[in-house]
């Protein structure tokens, strides 16, 4: 190998150019996924007072779980609290745009749904929101994935994904794991 000062410099510069290409390709792939495929993180700057969730219109007990909103959008509303989810089972249809909205009255929690890319942190003070389409049907696990206290390990919910033809909202637009028609 040539070891003159120019040769060393030249080889380093050549490598730097290769690195620039590698990093450039990675960035282009991410940019493409973000813009063309809408693969973005679940940002959602939406406040909610954790001390008065039960008085809010949206996260009162009777409004939790899955509901087909008047505009036709399927929305599941879930509260994550030490150390359970309310409700701890909810139904969503496969192959259809669905939205999951979550918040916490106490400490930081987080969720993922196994076998999918559904993943978000849940913070007191904020409403987290995930849009997704499920393709697999069946009972998927939705554990709390952020340390929230000594009972953290028991904190788990079920997402029941049903084929679109088995998704039957009631007259009020609601569907629950107990009565899905």
């Amino acid at each position: 190998m040539a070891l003159s000062e120019e040769a060393v410099l030249k080889s380093e510069l050549r490598w730097a150019a290769i690195v620039a290409v590698i990093v450039g390709i990675i960035l282009i792939a991410i940019l493409y996924a973000a813009i063309a495929m809408h693969v973005n993180p679940p940002s959602n700057a939406e406040y909610i007072d954790p001390k008065t969730l039960h008085l809010s219109a949206e996260f009162t007990e009777s409004n939790l779980g899955t509901r087909v909103d008047p505009d036709g959008q399927v929305v599941a509303r879930v509260i994550a609290t030490q150390f359970e989810f309310v409700p701890n089972c909810f139904v969503l249809p496969a192959d259809r745009d669905v939205t999951i909205r979550l918040t916490s009255p106490d400490v930081i929690h987080g969720i993922l749904v196994t076998g999918t890319n559904v993943n978000t942190m849940i913070m007191p003070g904020w409403v987290s929101q995930v849009h997704t389409v499920f393709h697999k049907t069946g009972d998927l696990l939705m554990p709390c994935h952020e340390f929230c206290g000594l009972g953290h390990s028991q904190m788990m919910a079920t997402v029941r994904v049903v084929p679109p033809q088995d998704f039957h909202p009631g007259p009020d637009g609601r569907v629950s794991c107990d009565n899905r028609g």
Partner: protein, 550 residues
Amino acid sequence: MAARPRRRDAAALETGRLVMAHIWVAIAVFALACLLGVWQMWARSPLNAPYHTAANYFRSVTLHGVSMGYVLTTFFIMGFGYYVAETSLRRPLPSLALAWGSFWLGIVGTLMAALSVVSGNASVLFTFYPPLTATPWFYIGLVLVVVASWIWCLIMIFAMRTWKAENPGEPVPLAMFATVANAVMWLWTTVGVAAELLFQVIPAAFGWTQTVDVGLSRTLFSWTLHAIVYFWLFPSYIAFYTMFPRAAGGRLYSDTMGRLAFVLFIIYSLPVGLHHLFMDPEHSNGFKFLQMFLTALVSVPTFLTIFTITASAEVAGRMRGGKGLFGWIGALPWERPMVLATGLAFFMLFWGGGGGLINMSYGMNAMIHNTSWVTAHFHLIFGGTVVIMYQAICYSIWPSITRRDFASLKPLRLQLWLWFIGMMVMTLPWHWLGLQGQWRRVAAFDYSNPLIHSWGPWVIVSLVGGIILALSALLFIYNLAMLHRRGVAGAPASIEYAQAVHPPERVPSSLNGFGLWNIIVAVLMLLAYGWPIAQFFVSPPPQAVVHRLG
């Protein structure tokens, strides 16, 4: 290089006891944390572990994380920094007394934090999670450790300044330049966590405040959370550039590239912390994207390092008679611990770094956030690149401190191989399980669930990897203890750092100090973190009620 007056050749190193005190504390804490780690994996496996309760598990996880992340690293870096300052500048430390003062401050802080955790009043993990709060003494203990490290930073900066005043125009030796780069970066890095602890968490822990802005606290912690990893990594890179080429029997391919890599670490490891918050609601996608872009750039100094160190290895291999395209690899002296450790570290860095590129890939982060994949990633980087090089550094510097040589290098090589094998056996299943959706930070899994049941065998494989790692950690201590007791007397009291193929006679002042880079960091931090922090004051979100554990 110009001949410099050599201070005392035969006498013992002035910092010998200081270095050893720091690094033995680091090693003791490290060994304990390794054993706790094995128990944690046992607890999460389908096998029945003793003492298995949620309270014990989170106590153990907190102790493991705090020990590895804050104590092992800080004490090792401080000890190694003092060693580099004396041996590379060849002059006494500015103040040995101050250095000892900072050591004892760190010990007091460590004991306060450790007692808080052991007593069960601080099971908040090393990332804190307000509005959960521990006993205030836990945080105050950690603040004392950080203050101790700040004193170290000032000693390092002052040592370099004094040397530069005595040697005008001469390039600062690369090992010291890098050590001061780390000190400068660490001062920036700790601003975030210090602000979180002093203004938010400690007042809440004492009961002075009843609510806390969790978005702000997470953002401040993210300021620290990425650069701290580079703080830990710096000694490994110092070993790559200034110890490995000499151990391999060659020269450093390019001194300038080394300086450039260290400077790039200062710039790009700081304005990138939001990539830990990709899955959080409180930051806009615009700032997440900006910091993702800057995160991609922090891979550049590592790519440059891989090239320069591989080229240095080739120089060594060819000087030792290696021929052909790959013949130089076999010609390297793999029997030497520093050479072996560097090779293994590069292999693990390849996997850990590749996983990291996926983590930082913006929307793709949703696939693996808070799964075992992330645990695997940072154990590969921390254990595979940081710790294995700390071990190799100990093997390299211990003879000059104890004035004894290792009687045999065989147990040293065995230890490094065990560490490597254990780390791969532990982390490859974790990566796989993470992709299956196995989540982090739970005390136990319910193996009666069919999906979780199918993970069982892989969890047991990773436990075996953990046991191998613990054996390696114990063998590491045994090797150093044997050197103290039965080493061969007569080792020289100093160390020679690697020379560059073309030793620099003059370097631009920008690559001989940090003034310019501090300005660039300030601008980048303002750009990347200005609004993400200001938003909590411009439009304050509802606060969370404090939940006291301790």
